[in-house]
């Protein structure tokens, strides 16, 4: 059992952790509640990823294949962990398929849940067919055709509303979801590429295309693809009577109310804590931080730690995270688990 790491979740972070552990010569048992591996980018059908520009199904597909082809990895799909007993070096997990797994360390790569736009009814999702979430827009881009769901016409104008389900005390979501500014700038580029006659407007409070995403996504979408950035938080989306949508708010730079007609409105939805986290907290005996994500252990010497020794985490389980950083953290968590197992073997020997 001291040669096995249990990894829960098969998104970018879990897949990276698995490859790390297997590559170091240890065994992996991977438990994934869905029937397919790959996490959010695969389950939600993302289009081209930021920042690589590769299609999600190709990029994450390679990560899935690397793990599936590895004989050191045992995969349980459509399965959850129902109980975890034991201590570092000697854990026993019960699975929902009635199997039992013995492992020396556990990595929780359980990720996030997309914000459900229905919780912001004033922005029209669920009421008007031409109001979409960014995941639906990603799927539309991946399908190869930009069209209004209501009647199939090519939209003259698309509005992307940032921070939907993020940075909003009214609905108890006080965090920034970190990637949606960049993803939205990228979506605007993709829409313009596929449908040159469509003008894209992004309504923002701040633009947070951090690090190297600044010029590669924000500037590029503004300068090369003519995306218009309007500083306004939208108050309401309503119907105009002639089949279009009306976007209402205040343009903070002009100090004026605006009521602008649009053909499509896209919610740049944020990353909520995984809705399973209360259950995960109970089953694995780990604490949650104040927003509901997994609580990090001591930051500087307890790499990828949680509140329970021997149980590690990585990626969006800890808070809103990018794929690239989730992959790096997954590798770190895998490395940390292997390090612990090696230390135990040394101690015993």
């Amino acid at each position: 059992m001291q040669d096995t790491v249990l990894i829960v979740g098969s998104g970018p972070s879990g897949l990276s952790a698995a490859a790390q552990v297997a590559g170091a010569g240890y065994k992996v048992v991977m438990v994934e509640k869905e029937e397919v591996l790959g996490g959010a980018p695969i389950l939600s059908g993302y289009a081209k990823l930021v920042p690589s520009g590769e299609w999600a199904k190709d990029a994450i597909g390679r990560m899935v294949k690397r793990v599936e082809d590895d004989k050191a990895v045992t995969i349980h799909k459509g399965t959850r962990v129902t109980k975890l007993d034991g201590e570092p070096g000697n854990f026993t997990a019960k699975l929902s398929n009635n199997k039992q797994v013995k492992a020396g360390a556990v990595v929780l790569a359980t990720g996030f849940t997309h914000f459900d736009s229905v919780n912001k009814p004033e922005w029209g999702f669920g009421t008007f067919p031409d109001v979409l979430t960014s995941t639906q827009m990603e799927q539309m881009v991946a399908s190869g055709k930009i069209a209004c769901p209501s009647d199939g016409r090519v939209p003259e104008r698309v509005a992307i509303l940032l921070c939907v389900g993020s940075r909003d005390r009214q609905i108890g979501r006080e965090w920034c979801s970190k990637i949606c500014c960049t993803v939205s700038a990228n979506l605007a580029i993709e829409i313009k590429e596929m449908s040159p006659e469509t003008d894209v407007f992004i309504y923002y409070m701040d633009i947070r295309t951090f690090g190297l995403y600044e010029d590669r996504f924000y500037w590029k979408s503004q300068e090369e693809f003519k995306t218009k950035f309007v500083k306004a938080r939208i108050a309401e989306v309503t119907a105009s009577g002639d089949g279009r949508l009306l976007v209402k708010g205040e343009d903070t730079l002009v100090k004026r109310p605006i009521v602008i007609p649009f053909d499509m409105v896209v919610h740049a939805i944020g990353m909520d804590p995984n809705q399973d986290n209360p259950e995960i907290s109970k089953v694995f005996g780990v604490e949650l931080e104040k927003h509901g994500f997994l609580q990090k252990g001591e930051q500087y010497t307890n790499t990828c730690g949680t509140s329970r020794p021997g149980v590690y985490s990585c990626g969006a389980a800890y808070g809103p995270e990018t794929i690239d950083d989730s992959i790096a953290q997954g590798a770190a968590a895998g490395g940390r688990a292997v390090m612990d197992l090696t230390a135990l073997v040394r101690k015993a020997g």
Binding site: E156, R157, D199, I207, W219, Q222, E223, K226, K228, F229, V230, K231, D251, L253, V254, R256, P257, I258, V259, I260, P261
Partner: protein, 238 residues
């Protein structure tokens, strides 16, 4: 809504009827003063491209509204209504009315280019100010500037004859700008010319003024030139 603090409202948004009866109630005079709403109800999607087509306006779409240009601006220091950052925003969204409101100050940019030097996105706001002034002149929103009128007089003579006759350019310019031909400096200039110019040159000068000669073999060159200039303008302005 009837309002009392009229000084806070732009004059063009104040509606006022001298005589008005509503449901049989006489509300003539200041009782019926109303304000039109300030809501922006649409963008003009083509306006930005129009300004970009005018020399100087090419980079306007890069602006991210940091305000560095306005902050550094020579004219803003004189008059806080002079706000390049704001006009650039209005160009981007096609809020034409906002720019037209400031038609009497936009052209006051003194081309010091402090804004150009400071702009982190290399928008070149000075060029945008020029392009805007140019657009307003072309659309007849502002009157033609004296220099434009001078240029036109000059160019018309070139088309016609392949050369200019100074006195005619001056006469045409003063006439079109409604100025007197009897300018002080012109009288002094004329007197000195008469006193010092050799007789032979003076005769030639007088003959040119009367005969308006063309450049040798000018032929249809003027027409071709005019056509070319027209085409170039159309190509630039779409």
């Amino acid at each position: 809504m009837a309002i009392h603090e009229k000084s806070l409202i732009e004059p063009e948004r104040l509606l006022h009827h001298d005589e008005l009866v509503v449901d049989g109630v006489d509300v003539s005079g200041h009782w019926n003063t109303m304000i039109t709403p300030r809501t922006l109800t649409d963008y003009d999607d083509d306006f930005e491209a129009k300004i970009q087509a005018i020399p100087g306006g090419e980079n306007v779409h890069r602006c991210w509204q940091c305000g560095s240009c306005t902050n550094s601006c020579t004219m803003y220091a004189q008059n806080v209504q002079f706000n390049p950052r704001y006009w650039i925003y209005a160009v981007r969204l096609g809020l034409k009315e906002e720019i037209i409101k400031d038609k009497d100050i936009v052209w006051q940019c003194v081309s010091c280019n402090k804004c150009t030097n400071i702009c982190p996105k290399d928008v070149r706001p000075e060029g945008v100010m020029k392009a805007l002034a140019h657009w307003m002149e072309e659309e007849g929103i502002t009157e033609k500037t004296p220099s434009t009128i001078f240029d036109e007089e000059f160019t018309e003579q070139i088309y016609a004859r392949g050369r200019i006759e100074d006195s005619h350019v001056l006469m045409g310019f003063y006439k079109k700008t409604g100025q007197s031909m009897f300018q002080n400096w012109l009288q002094v200039f004329g007197l000195r010319l008469a006193r010092h110019l050799p007789v032979s040159l003076g005769l030639k000068f007088g003959r040119n003024v009367l005969m308006k000669p063309r450049t040798k073999s000018w032929g249809r060159t003027g027409e071709v030139l005019q056509q070319y200039v027209r085409e170039q303008k159309e190509a630039a302005h779409g």
